[in-house]
Subunit: 266 residues, 2 copies
């Protein structure tokens, strides 16, 4: 049964686990195969051609697991590789950028949307491009937050150091009076409570991981391949550092990860 | 004249510039060609075979610039690749690990030496291995400081956030009563004043970049290829992000870097 085939999800490392978390919550019977390219991260500093090449290798690997759909759970790979890969693929594929941008464009009232992301995501202007396609009148304010990923990976989710860095990064957003803020890196939803406290209740916080799971469910329903019931199975593969990956996964996922397996792609 | 040939120096990114800074100070007439592998950093999470392969590619590139000697200005590459590469090379080569370890073993009185480094350097136990070769009685205390590199790369050299993280990382060193501390990552000398303030005047801070320049000068003198006088020339090559590299280099080097050139290695 095609409905029982797993969904393939990939990211440059652990960040995509926030997308897995939303899939587990919103699509609780779906089987999932995750690949984290921990040996070759970060993708942010690599060229577009390299990101496309890596993404193709990963999709090739995921297809050996007979996946029925692909989720690019990485802002950089979504920005660089989705349009290049989708046309030649005979199964559905989505990235994290468009679902987040679509919800932000719906949510804003004053037309001022902020984007937090890595240097490469902000530098690519991908969110600005997608948002202006949706509504050319939107004002977009981007801010790169390069210390957020290492702070999250060190587990400093509720910590005075993280609070201080967040206050500095968010100043531009408060000064620009944005009413909607996209957490444009898969690590950032883990800092949601800190960002919420600093921005106040009046600002819409958009989690692309959440919106991607919503879009994924709609896509599977439209293709008539959504798995409605049954116990799910989760498989995790990484290209380096299985223990560090498992520890991080077990700290943020609602299910216990038994093991991550090592795979080398070339 | 072989003395006029440049020294080839390489690192996974910008960290090796602290070695360049010491070469400029201590070997002021030497010509230098630097290669920073900014597209493929960090090396810390990559396998030993990959590091050896990358190092060979970089040395091949540096030899096209007719270098007379090679400095591996990266702790990870020194740990993983030096012993594999040196035997087949017909020009002198040194890394940063041994010079720092030798000075630390000389400097300690109570026999307790601390090592600060990246996760991979601390995990490799390379400093412990070299120190125990020098003196099996030495007690070695290692501490990985994963936030130091991103903090330095963000320019937060004198900042309350960096002070707070340094206080946490250095607690293990104070508790262990080390009298000598190796700054075992090329970025860390840029945090020297913070570390000095927290550890106090009684602790020897060993900067492997400084010791490497001392050893390099000795090596060139022994080979009779030391350039005693003349105006030096500096050339910088990177595999990605020339502007970011130049900005960082100009913030820490005593000479103005005109430009960094982009090179793709495969």
């Amino acid at each position: 049964m095609l409905k029982d085939a797993p969904i393939g999800v990939f990211d440059s490392g652990v960040g995509g686990l926030t997308v897995i978390r939303e899939i587990i919550r919103q699509l609780p019977s779906e089987n999932v195969v995750y690949f984290g390219d921990t040996a070759r991260l970060p993708y942010g500093s690599k060229s577009k051609d390299t990101i496309i090449s890596y993404s193709k290798q990963i999709i090739h690997f995921l297809r050996t697991k007979h996946v029925k759909a692909i989720v690019i759970a990485c802002n950089t790979a979504s920005a660089c590789a989705l349009d290049a890969i989708a046309p030649s693929l005979d199964i559905p594929i989505i990235g994290v950028v468009r679902p987040g941008a679509v919800m932000a464009a719906k949510a804003t009232v004053n037309g001022k949307i902020g984007i937090l992301g890595t240097e490469s995501t902000i530098g690519s202007d991908i969110y600005t491009t997608v948002l202006h396609d949706l509504n050319p009148g939107i004002t977009v304010v981007g801010k790169a937050c390069p210390l957020f990923v290492p702070l999250v990976e060190e587990g400093l989710l509720n910590d005075p150091v993280t609070d201080e860095m967040a206050a500095r990064y968010l100043k531009a957003m408060k000064d620009a009076d944005v009413d909607t803020l996209i957490l444009g890196c898969t690590h950032y939803p883990l800092l949601r409570s800190t960002i919420r406290r600093l921005m106040g209740e009046g600002v819409n916080l958009i989690n692309p991981a959440y919106e991607t799971a919503v879009s994924l469910r709609e896509m599977l329903l439209a293709e008539n391949i959504y798995r409605v019931e049954g116990k799910p199975a989760y498989q995790f593969y990484v290209s380096d550092g299985t223990e560090k990956f498992s520890a991080f996964a077990n700290s943020i996922l609602p299910v216990k990860l038994k093991e991550a397996r090592l795979v080398t792609l070339e």
